[in-house]
Amino acid sequence: MKLRSLQLAVPLFGLLVALPVSADAPLTQYKAFTQRDTQIEDAFTKLKWDRNVFGPANHATATTVLCPGNNRLPTLKELLSLVDEDVHEEYEGTQRVLKAIDQRAFPNTPVDAPYWTSTEEGTSAWTVDFRTGETQLALKTDTRRVRCVVP
Protein backbone atom coordinates (compact mmCIF):
# COMPACT_ATOMS: atom_id res chain seq x y z
CA MET A 1 0.00 0.00 0.00
CA LYS A 2 2.72 2.47 0.94
CA LEU A 3 4.53 1.67 -2.29
CA ARG A 4 1.49 2.45 -4.40
CA SER A 5 0.82 5.82 -2.82
CA LEU A 6 4.47 6.74 -3.32
CA GLN A 7 4.17 5.80 -6.97
CA LEU A 8 1.23 8.16 -7.25
CA ALA A 9 2.59 11.01 -5.15
CA VAL A 10 5.97 11.51 -6.77
CA PRO A 11 4.79 12.00 -10.37
CA LEU A 12 1.96 14.25 -9.21
CA PHE A 13 4.47 16.44 -7.41
CA GLY A 14 6.57 16.54 -10.55
CA LEU A 15 3.62 17.77 -12.58
CA LEU A 16 2.84 20.49 -10.03
CA VAL A 17 6.37 21.84 -10.18
CA ALA A 18 6.41 21.84 -13.96
CA LEU A 19 3.29 23.98 -14.64
CA PRO A 20 4.00 27.58 -15.84
CA VAL A 21 2.28 30.37 -13.90
CA SER A 22 1.58 33.92 -14.99
CA ALA A 23 -1.87 35.30 -14.28
CA ASP A 24 -3.55 38.67 -14.35
CA ALA A 25 -6.90 37.55 -13.04
CA PRO A 26 -6.79 36.21 -9.50
CA LEU A 27 -6.03 32.51 -9.58
CA THR A 28 -9.49 31.76 -8.18
CA GLN A 29 -11.36 33.66 -10.92
CA TYR A 30 -11.38 30.87 -13.47
CA LYS A 31 -11.95 27.24 -12.68
CA ALA A 32 -8.84 25.09 -13.04
CA PHE A 33 -7.85 24.69 -16.68
CA THR A 34 -5.01 23.11 -18.62
CA GLN A 35 -3.09 24.51 -21.53
CA ARG A 36 -5.10 22.44 -23.96
CA ASP A 37 -8.61 23.23 -22.71
CA THR A 38 -10.91 24.83 -25.27
CA GLN A 39 -13.20 26.36 -22.64
CA ILE A 40 -12.65 28.59 -19.65
CA GLU A 41 -15.25 28.73 -16.88
CA ASP A 42 -15.47 31.82 -14.72
CA ALA A 43 -16.03 30.55 -11.19
CA PHE A 44 -18.00 33.65 -10.20
CA THR A 45 -20.05 34.70 -13.21
CA LYS A 46 -20.59 31.01 -14.00
CA LEU A 47 -20.08 31.77 -17.67
CA LYS A 48 -18.19 29.30 -19.85
CA TRP A 49 -16.12 30.98 -22.53
CA ASP A 50 -14.87 29.48 -25.75
CA ARG A 51 -11.10 29.90 -25.87
CA ASN A 52 -11.24 29.99 -29.65
CA VAL A 53 -11.66 33.34 -31.35
CA PHE A 54 -13.53 33.67 -34.65
CA GLY A 55 -13.99 36.33 -37.28
CA PRO A 56 -13.76 39.06 -38.20
CA ALA A 57 -17.38 38.60 -39.28
CA ASN A 58 -20.59 40.61 -39.36
CA HIS A 59 -23.09 40.43 -36.54
CA ALA A 60 -25.53 38.05 -38.23
CA THR A 61 -22.78 35.57 -39.06
CA ALA A 62 -21.44 35.88 -35.54
CA THR A 63 -24.83 35.13 -34.05
CA THR A 64 -26.00 32.24 -36.23
CA VAL A 65 -22.90 30.68 -37.75
CA LEU A 66 -20.01 31.28 -35.39
CA CYS A 67 -21.93 30.81 -32.13
CA PRO A 68 -24.49 28.23 -33.24
CA GLY A 69 -26.95 26.11 -31.33
CA ASN A 70 -26.64 26.47 -27.59
CA ASN A 71 -23.59 28.67 -27.97
CA ARG A 72 -24.32 32.37 -28.02
CA LEU A 73 -22.71 35.77 -28.23
CA PRO A 74 -22.16 37.30 -24.79
CA THR A 75 -24.23 40.31 -23.72
CA LEU A 76 -22.21 43.53 -23.41
CA LYS A 77 -22.14 43.31 -19.62
CA GLU A 78 -20.98 39.70 -19.70
CA LEU A 79 -18.16 40.45 -22.13
CA LEU A 80 -17.09 43.39 -19.97
CA SER A 81 -16.47 40.90 -17.15
CA LEU A 82 -13.54 39.53 -19.19
CA VAL A 83 -11.80 42.90 -19.29
CA ASP A 84 -8.59 42.97 -17.28
CA GLU A 85 -8.27 46.55 -16.02
CA ASP A 86 -4.57 45.89 -15.41
CA VAL A 87 -3.59 45.85 -19.09
CA HIS A 88 -0.53 43.92 -20.19
CA GLU A 89 1.69 44.03 -23.25
CA GLU A 90 2.29 41.38 -25.83
CA TYR A 91 4.42 41.38 -28.94
CA GLU A 92 2.70 40.69 -32.22
CA GLY A 93 5.52 40.51 -34.72
CA THR A 94 7.63 43.53 -33.83
CA GLN A 95 4.67 45.55 -32.47
CA ARG A 96 4.03 45.90 -28.77
CA VAL A 97 0.30 45.60 -28.31
CA LEU A 98 -1.70 46.36 -25.19
CA LYS A 99 -4.30 43.81 -24.16
CA ALA A 100 -6.92 44.05 -21.47
CA ILE A 101 -7.71 40.38 -20.94
CA ASP A 102 -6.31 37.66 -18.71
CA GLN A 103 -3.28 36.33 -20.51
CA ARG A 104 -3.15 32.87 -19.01
CA ALA A 105 -6.81 32.00 -19.63
CA PHE A 106 -6.97 33.69 -23.04
CA PRO A 107 -3.44 33.66 -24.49
CA ASN A 108 -2.72 35.48 -27.74
CA THR A 109 -6.16 37.07 -27.92
CA PRO A 110 -6.35 38.92 -31.26
CA VAL A 111 -7.12 42.58 -30.62
CA ASP A 112 -7.08 43.75 -34.23
CA ALA A 113 -10.85 44.33 -33.96
CA PRO A 114 -13.34 44.74 -31.10
CA TYR A 115 -15.56 41.82 -30.13
CA TRP A 116 -19.28 41.49 -30.87
CA THR A 117 -21.93 41.22 -28.18
CA SER A 118 -25.62 40.34 -28.47
CA THR A 119 -26.65 43.77 -27.10
CA GLU A 120 -28.18 45.60 -30.04
CA GLU A 121 -29.17 49.17 -30.84
CA GLY A 122 -31.28 49.06 -33.99
CA THR A 123 -28.89 48.63 -36.89
CA SER A 124 -25.86 48.57 -34.62
CA ALA A 125 -24.61 46.34 -31.84
CA TRP A 126 -22.24 46.92 -28.94
CA THR A 127 -18.64 45.74 -29.07
CA VAL A 128 -15.75 45.63 -26.59
CA ASP A 129 -12.24 46.65 -27.63
CA PHE A 130 -9.75 44.43 -25.79
CA ARG A 131 -6.86 46.82 -26.38
CA THR A 132 -8.42 49.16 -23.83
CA GLY A 133 -11.53 47.50 -22.38
CA GLU A 134 -13.79 50.24 -23.76
CA THR A 135 -17.18 49.80 -25.41
CA GLN A 136 -18.14 50.92 -28.91
CA LEU A 137 -21.19 50.72 -31.11
CA ALA A 138 -20.64 49.14 -34.52
CA LEU A 139 -22.96 48.71 -37.49
CA LYS A 140 -24.10 45.12 -37.63
CA THR A 141 -22.86 44.86 -41.21
CA ASP A 142 -19.31 45.72 -40.14
CA THR A 143 -16.96 42.88 -39.26
CA ARG A 144 -15.69 42.31 -35.75
CA ARG A 145 -14.09 39.50 -33.77
CA VAL A 146 -16.19 36.87 -32.03
CA ARG A 147 -15.85 34.98 -28.74
CA CYS A 148 -18.78 32.76 -27.79
CA VAL A 149 -20.32 31.79 -24.49
CA VAL A 150 -20.77 28.02 -24.42
CA PRO A 151 -23.39 26.15 -22.40
Partner: protein, 231 residues
Protein backbone atom coordinates in the same frame (compact mmCIF):
# COMPACT_ATOMS: atom_id res chain seq x y z
CA UNK B 1 2.67 -18.69 -2.89
CA UNK B 2 5.40 -16.68 -1.19
CA UNK B 3 7.19 -14.08 -3.30
CA UNK B 4 10.95 -14.13 -3.27
CA UNK B 5 12.64 -11.14 -1.64
CA UNK B 6 14.67 -10.57 -4.80
CA UNK B 7 11.50 -10.05 -6.80
CA UNK B 8 10.16 -7.58 -4.23
CA UNK B 9 13.36 -5.57 -4.35
CA UNK B 10 13.22 -5.55 -8.10
CA UNK B 11 9.69 -4.24 -8.05
CA UNK B 12 10.64 -1.57 -5.51
CA UNK B 13 13.54 -0.44 -7.68
CA UNK B 14 11.28 -0.28 -10.71
CA UNK B 15 8.72 1.73 -8.83
CA UNK B 16 11.27 4.26 -7.61
CA UNK B 17 12.74 4.57 -11.09
CA UNK B 18 9.28 5.18 -12.48
CA UNK B 19 8.52 7.66 -9.72
CA UNK B 20 11.59 9.67 -10.60
CA UNK B 21 11.27 9.38 -14.35
CA UNK B 22 7.68 10.49 -14.65
CA UNK B 23 8.12 13.99 -13.19
CA UNK B 24 11.22 14.45 -15.30
CA UNK B 25 9.26 13.54 -18.40
CA UNK B 26 6.35 15.66 -17.24
CA UNK B 27 8.63 18.65 -16.74
CA UNK B 28 10.10 18.28 -20.22
CA UNK B 29 6.65 17.75 -21.63
CA UNK B 30 5.37 20.89 -19.95
CA UNK B 31 8.20 22.84 -21.56
CA UNK B 32 7.62 21.31 -24.94
CA UNK B 33 3.89 21.50 -24.33
CA UNK B 34 4.20 25.30 -24.27
CA UNK B 35 3.89 24.99 -28.02
CA UNK B 36 0.35 23.86 -27.50
CA UNK B 37 -0.21 26.67 -25.00
CA UNK B 38 0.21 29.12 -27.82
CA UNK B 39 -1.65 27.04 -30.35
CA UNK B 40 -4.86 27.08 -28.34
CA UNK B 41 -5.62 30.46 -29.85
CA UNK B 42 -4.69 29.45 -33.37
CA UNK B 43 -7.78 27.54 -34.35
CA UNK B 44 -8.36 27.94 -38.05
CA UNK B 45 -5.29 30.07 -38.72
CA UNK B 46 -1.65 29.50 -39.47
CA UNK B 47 0.59 28.97 -36.50
CA UNK B 48 4.32 29.05 -36.86
CA UNK B 49 6.23 26.52 -34.84
CA UNK B 50 6.71 27.88 -31.34
CA UNK B 51 10.24 28.00 -29.99
CA UNK B 52 11.65 28.65 -26.58
CA UNK B 53 14.74 30.77 -26.00
CA UNK B 54 16.09 29.09 -22.90
CA UNK B 55 18.48 31.94 -22.04
CA UNK B 56 15.98 34.77 -22.00
CA UNK B 57 12.96 32.68 -21.07
CA UNK B 58 11.03 34.23 -23.95
CA UNK B 59 8.46 32.05 -25.59
CA UNK B 60 7.96 32.52 -29.30
CA UNK B 61 4.31 31.98 -30.00
CA UNK B 62 2.40 31.72 -33.24
CA UNK B 63 3.17 34.40 -35.81
CA UNK B 64 6.24 35.30 -33.78
CA UNK B 65 4.23 36.66 -30.89
CA UNK B 66 6.51 36.90 -27.89
CA UNK B 67 5.17 37.39 -24.42
CA UNK B 68 7.18 39.64 -22.13
CA UNK B 69 5.09 39.55 -19.03
CA UNK B 70 7.41 41.52 -16.79
CA UNK B 71 8.44 44.50 -18.92
CA UNK B 72 5.23 46.49 -18.94
CA UNK B 73 3.84 48.29 -15.91
CA UNK B 74 0.32 49.65 -16.28
CA UNK B 75 0.78 51.84 -13.23
CA UNK B 76 -1.84 52.75 -10.69
CA UNK B 77 -2.30 51.69 -7.09
CA UNK B 78 -5.95 50.69 -6.77
CA UNK B 79 -6.52 46.95 -6.77
CA UNK B 80 -8.36 45.88 -9.89
CA UNK B 81 -11.68 44.18 -9.46
CA UNK B 82 -13.08 41.14 -11.18
CA UNK B 83 -16.71 40.11 -11.15
CA UNK B 84 -17.44 38.12 -8.01
CA UNK B 85 -21.07 37.38 -8.87
CA UNK B 86 -23.20 36.46 -11.89
CA UNK B 87 -23.76 39.33 -14.31
CA UNK B 88 -27.35 40.63 -14.18
CA UNK B 89 -28.77 40.75 -17.71
CA UNK B 90 -31.75 42.26 -19.28
CA UNK B 91 -30.60 43.37 -22.64
CA UNK B 92 -33.82 44.04 -24.43
CA UNK B 93 -36.22 41.83 -26.27
CA UNK B 94 -34.54 38.44 -26.52
CA UNK B 95 -34.57 36.64 -29.80
CA UNK B 96 -37.06 33.81 -29.36
CA UNK B 97 -34.86 31.26 -31.10
CA UNK B 98 -31.66 32.15 -29.27
CA UNK B 99 -30.61 30.51 -26.01
CA UNK B 100 -32.09 32.21 -22.97
CA UNK B 101 -29.89 34.86 -21.37
CA UNK B 102 -29.36 34.03 -17.69
CA UNK B 103 -29.66 36.11 -14.51
CA UNK B 104 -32.39 38.64 -15.26
CA UNK B 105 -32.33 41.88 -13.29
CA UNK B 106 -33.87 41.70 -9.84
CA UNK B 107 -33.86 44.57 -7.36
CA UNK B 108 -35.32 45.22 -3.91
CA UNK B 109 -35.71 48.73 -2.57
CA UNK B 110 -35.11 49.35 1.10
CA UNK B 111 -38.39 51.15 1.59
CA UNK B 112 -36.81 54.27 3.10
CA UNK B 113 -35.79 55.60 -0.28
CA UNK B 114 -32.11 55.29 0.53
CA UNK B 115 -30.91 52.07 -0.99
CA UNK B 116 -31.63 49.39 -3.54
CA UNK B 117 -30.27 45.87 -3.27
CA UNK B 118 -29.32 43.97 -6.41
CA UNK B 119 -30.54 40.42 -5.76
CA UNK B 120 -28.15 38.97 -8.35
CA UNK B 121 -24.89 40.57 -7.21
CA UNK B 122 -25.92 41.21 -3.59
CA UNK B 123 -24.52 44.72 -3.81
CA UNK B 124 -26.48 47.54 -2.20
CA UNK B 125 -26.71 50.81 -4.12
CA UNK B 126 -27.60 54.38 -3.30
CA UNK B 127 -31.13 54.75 -4.60
CA UNK B 128 -31.22 58.42 -5.56
CA UNK B 129 -28.76 61.28 -5.85
CA UNK B 130 -28.19 64.35 -3.68
CA UNK B 131 -29.95 67.01 -5.75
CA UNK B 132 -33.59 66.21 -5.14
CA UNK B 133 -36.13 64.57 -7.43
CA UNK B 134 -33.72 61.72 -8.02
CA UNK B 135 -30.99 63.85 -9.62
CA UNK B 136 -27.45 64.33 -8.33
CA UNK B 137 -24.82 67.04 -8.60
CA UNK B 138 -21.69 66.82 -10.70
CA UNK B 139 -18.50 66.07 -8.75
CA UNK B 140 -14.82 65.65 -9.41
CA UNK B 141 -13.50 62.21 -8.51
CA UNK B 142 -12.18 63.30 -5.12
CA UNK B 143 -15.48 65.01 -4.33
CA UNK B 144 -17.27 61.80 -5.23
CA UNK B 145 -15.08 59.83 -2.84
CA UNK B 146 -15.80 62.30 -0.04
CA UNK B 147 -19.52 62.21 -0.82
CA UNK B 148 -19.76 58.44 -0.52
CA UNK B 149 -17.65 58.45 2.65
CA UNK B 150 -20.12 60.87 4.24
CA UNK B 151 -23.27 59.26 2.88
CA UNK B 152 -24.28 57.41 5.98
CA UNK B 153 -23.16 55.22 8.88
CA UNK B 154 -22.78 52.23 6.56
CA UNK B 155 -19.56 51.82 4.59
CA UNK B 156 -20.51 53.48 1.29
CA UNK B 157 -17.88 53.85 -1.39
CA UNK B 158 -17.46 54.71 -5.06
CA UNK B 159 -18.14 51.53 -7.06
CA UNK B 160 -15.58 49.65 -9.11
CA UNK B 161 -15.93 49.59 -12.92
CA UNK B 162 -17.42 46.11 -13.20
CA UNK B 163 -19.80 46.76 -10.28
CA UNK B 164 -21.14 49.88 -12.00
CA UNK B 165 -21.45 48.04 -15.31
CA UNK B 166 -23.89 45.58 -13.72
CA UNK B 167 -26.44 48.41 -13.36
CA UNK B 168 -26.76 49.11 -17.09
CA UNK B 169 -30.25 48.34 -18.34
CA UNK B 170 -30.41 48.21 -22.11
CA UNK B 171 -34.18 47.93 -22.23
CA UNK B 172 -34.33 51.67 -21.49
CA UNK B 173 -33.20 54.66 -23.49
CA UNK B 174 -31.67 57.84 -22.21
CA UNK B 175 -31.40 56.77 -18.59
CA UNK B 176 -30.19 53.21 -18.53
CA UNK B 177 -30.85 52.37 -14.90
CA UNK B 178 -33.51 49.92 -13.75
CA UNK B 179 -36.74 51.69 -12.68
CA UNK B 180 -35.87 50.95 -9.06
CA UNK B 181 -33.28 53.72 -9.23
CA UNK B 182 -33.75 57.46 -9.28
CA UNK B 183 -31.06 59.71 -10.67
CA UNK B 184 -30.18 61.34 -13.95
CA UNK B 185 -28.56 59.62 -16.89
CA UNK B 186 -25.07 60.77 -17.73
CA UNK B 187 -21.60 59.73 -16.67
CA UNK B 188 -20.90 58.01 -13.36
CA UNK B 189 -17.56 57.63 -11.60
CA UNK B 190 -15.91 54.34 -10.73
CA UNK B 191 -12.97 53.88 -8.39
CA UNK B 192 -11.15 51.82 -11.02
CA UNK B 193 -8.07 53.48 -12.48
CA UNK B 194 -7.89 53.68 -16.26
CA UNK B 195 -4.62 52.01 -17.24
CA UNK B 196 -1.99 52.61 -18.51
CA UNK B 197 -2.23 55.00 -15.57
CA UNK B 198 -0.51 58.35 -15.75
CA UNK B 199 0.18 60.17 -12.47
CA UNK B 200 0.40 63.41 -14.44
CA UNK B 201 -3.06 62.97 -15.94
CA UNK B 202 -4.85 60.40 -13.77
CA UNK B 203 -8.08 59.00 -15.14
CA UNK B 204 -10.73 56.63 -13.89
CA UNK B 205 -13.27 54.47 -15.64
CA UNK B 206 -16.73 55.97 -16.02
CA UNK B 207 -19.97 54.50 -17.29
CA UNK B 208 -22.28 56.66 -19.40
CA UNK B 209 -25.80 55.72 -18.39
CA UNK B 210 -27.30 57.74 -21.24
CA UNK B 211 -25.96 55.27 -23.77
CA UNK B 212 -23.97 52.50 -22.14
CA UNK B 213 -20.48 53.64 -23.04
CA UNK B 214 -17.68 52.51 -20.72
CA UNK B 215 -14.61 54.72 -21.05
CA UNK B 216 -12.14 56.85 -19.09
CA UNK B 217 -12.32 60.36 -17.68
CA UNK B 218 -9.72 62.58 -16.02
CA UNK B 219 -10.13 62.75 -12.24
CA UNK B 220 -10.26 66.53 -12.33
CA UNK B 221 -13.33 66.53 -14.59
CA UNK B 222 -16.81 66.05 -13.21
CA UNK B 223 -19.37 63.29 -13.33
CA UNK B 224 -22.14 61.88 -11.16
CA UNK B 225 -21.64 59.17 -8.60
CA UNK B 226 -23.84 56.38 -7.31
CA UNK B 227 -22.39 54.94 -4.13
CA UNK B 228 -22.34 51.26 -3.31
CA UNK B 229 -21.67 49.07 -0.34
CA UNK B 230 -21.00 45.34 -0.21
CA UNK B 231 -22.83 43.16 2.27
Amino acid sequence: MARSSRSTRGRLAAAVALGLAVPAIAACNALIGLDDFEKVQCAGSQCDDAGIDVDSGRVDGPNDARIDVNDFDGGGTEPVTWAKWPIPNFDGVPDAVAPAIPNPHSYATSGDGRSVEDKVTKLTWEQAGDAGSGASTLKTYDEAVAYCDALGPEKWRVPKRIELVTLLDFTRNGKRFDVAFGGAGGNYWSSSEKRPYSAANPAHWIVDFDKGIVTGRAKSETAFVRCVRSQ
